[in-house]
Symmetry: C2
Subunit: 106 residues, 2 copies
DNA sequence: GAAATATATTAGAATATAATGATTAGTCGA
DNA sequence: TCGACTAATCATTATATTCTAATATATTTC
């Protein structure tokens, strides 16, 4: 029914790879609530500064996030609001029963 | 807004890893149209038998697909209809303008 | 039961991804 | 300019993923 055309499969798979990691997915979820600076994300995700910075760089280069420097802090936010739908779809699959989704497995 | 609780982040990230590959994503897309046997999937994806079989095994073990043997053929189908939403969300991000989505970036 | 067909499994090498620790580069205030 | 702070980058090692080729397991047909 809802196929992704072959041409876009590569981009979509790459995009999924950009989220297919606990830390990066966690970052995305936190940013759904609004922009945050790196400090806050370090605390929110419990990752080392270096490691988080590399994950943020990856998400930035992939176009998932955009950043903005304010003073000595760097704020990150989600580049495309459509990612929210993706998170909702993920929730429908992995948190069945806790969202207002109509149908859950079985 | 739509956060995934910390407990489920791991499962969701792992689930994303299960789709974060051209071949597996392509398989999922094809199966949206209905169950298919391995033969058909080999042709549809253009992958070698061995390689595809390994991808199918992974998706099966992860609970993304289920299979059913019929004679000497094995048919695969999507385990959870909720994956359709995920594909739609991906389309909204990577194929903007080609789906009936209400809002697309810019 | 031998040959053909459909699929799965295994082992290995190639490649990609991730984490750590050390270092670097701006920004701010004294 | 010095010291503290925030963030990025680099090099290295560790780990995971992917592909290929070979082989194994069923099933069907003869």
């Amino acid at each position: 029914m809802e196929m992704i055309p072959a041409k876009e499969i590569h981009a979509a798979a790459e995009g999924l790879r950009g989220l297919a990691h606990e830390t990066r997915l966690s970052v995305l979820c936190h940013l759904l609530q609004g922009p945050m600076c790196v400090q806050q994300l370090i605390e929110a995700t419990g990752t080392s500064q270096s490691n988080l910075s590399q994950h943020l760089a990856k998400m930035r280069l992939m176009g998932i996030l955009v950043n903005e420097k304010r003073g000595q802090q760097v704020f990150y936010r989600i580049a495309n609001p459509a990612f929210e739908q993706l998170i909702m779809a993920l929730k429908a699959i992995y948190c069945p029963g806790m969202c207002g989704q109509s149908g859950e497995g079985r």
